[in-house]
């Protein structure tokens, strides 16, 4: 039963990207008469800009985490925490990303890149990491920008709620990925 659910999921997942690639221009051109080719090229230019813009952040984070791993310090941390993490089924490899996610978007993207570099795109750790990254936000940054823009000093329960949401998102990411890919 569970096997067939996973099989259906994996069959269906193949079509997600092709479907988006076909339906978005379809809707744009045939329903809304958008000049899809010109608009596509205009949007695509940003790909270059973003990639260049993230280089300094990636260098900072990948160097930091790379040194941390090579020195053996990462092993010490994960050895120390793994009994607790294993008890709740949380992979120690994904811990750093979970801690970083609410603090910094560029930092957590760097850590996600590190997971992909170390374990490969198809690894469970990378998939858990990508799901974590996609299902939560940089809570501290969003609160600072949004409240700061209108001069709110007392944020009341917004921060706690945001962090609860992050925790639930992170744990959900771990369990759904372990269920589907574990």
């Amino acid at each position: 039963m569970i096997e067939s659910v996973i099989n259906i999921f994996n069959e269906g997942a193949k079509y997600v990207i092709p479907l988006l690639l076909a339906t978005i221009p379809f809707y744009g051109l045939l329903v809304k008469k958008v000049k899809v080719y010109e608009v596509f090229v205009e949007g695509a230019k940003d790909g270059f800009n973003i990639a260049i813009r993230i280089i300094p952040y990636l260098v900072a984070i990948l160097v930091g985490i790379g040194m941390f791993r090579a020195s053996g310090a990462l092993d010490i941390v994960t050895d120390f925490l793994s009994p607790i993490l294993n008890a709740i089924g949380f992979p120690p490899e994904n811990l750093l990303l979970a801690v970083m996610r609410p603090l910094s978007g560029s930092g957590s993207f760097g850590l996600l890149s590190d997971l992909v570099n170390q374990y490969g795109q198809d690894s469970l750790f990378a998939k858990i990491g990508a799901t974590m990254y996609g299902s939560t936000e940089t809570t501290f940054y969003v609160l600072a920008v949004y409240f700061g823009s209108v001069g709110i000093k007392k944020v009341r329960h917004a921060l706690i709620s945001g962090l609860i949401a992050d925790l639930v998102g992170i744990l959900s990411a771990v369990y759904i990925c372990r269920f589907l890919f574990g």
Partner: protein, 212 residues
């Protein structure tokens, strides 16, 4: 905060590496990682260009407006303090629709506009209103159907497998945000004190914001 985390990573690495006698490996890792970061970023350009081009089409063809029609009834239920015809409701709806499509660049200006309009409805100008807390809790929980271009680029072919798990996890976190914000707003320590509520005329002071 991030400054200490980053400094901590490097400092501890050097100390532990020295004790372990792995200092050569630490040096090598620093140099190789710096190089790997550039290779990685350059490698992302193609897929990100593809994805961002597609998302630009989605944006131009008014997909945000289409999604916002679906979202609207939910937001009216979520924000009982905001009159349904108030401009704030319109901005909230558009911001959420942009977030759902993973259009972060379009979402932020709409979100800031929504905050300004919510501030007009806010009787206590230095304290967040219930509607603001709800709006931000949902925003920080990330409501997303379409993955950001950076993740699609990074995950390559595996990206398609991440869509459904992400929708599941993001739904869970959004539900947690809504439930917790509604419960916490009733707690004594988070209610707005009545004496402040009366008449405080504070001019909104835009703050200097650091980039992340």
């Amino acid at each position: 905060m991030l400054n200490y985390v980053w400094f901590g990573l490097i400092f501890i690495s050097v100390v532990v590496g020295t004790i372990d006698g792995k200092i050569d490996a630490v040096t090598e890792a620093a140099i190789n990682s710096a190089e790997a970061a550039v290779t990685l970023a350059i490698g992302l350009i193609g897929i990100m260009a593809l994805w961002l081009g597609m998302m630009k089409i989605a944006e131009e063809s008014g997909l945000i407006e289409l999604i916002s029609q679906i979202v609207r009834p939910i937001t009216i239920w979520l924000f009982p303090e905001v009159p349904p015809d108030h401009p704030a409701m319109g901005s909230i709806v558009l911001n959420m629709a942009a977030n759902i499509l993973g259009l972060g660049n379009a979402a932020t200006p709409l979100g800031l506009k929504a905050m300004q309009e919510l501030q007009e409805l806010n009787p206590t100008k230095d304290t967040a209103s219930n509607a603001m807390c709800t709006f931000l809790a949902i925003n920080t929980s990330s409501v997303q159907l379409i993955l950001p271009a950076t993740v699609v680029g990074l995950m390559g072919v595996s990206a398609s497998q991440i869509f459904l798990p992400t929708i599941f996890a993001t739904s869970m976190s959004t539900i947690a945000a809504i439930v917790s914000v509604k419960i916490l707003s009733k707690l004594k320590q988070f209610t707005i004190a009545p004496e402040i509520r009366s008449e405080t005329k504070l001019e909104p002071q835009p703050e200097e914001i650091g980039n992340d």
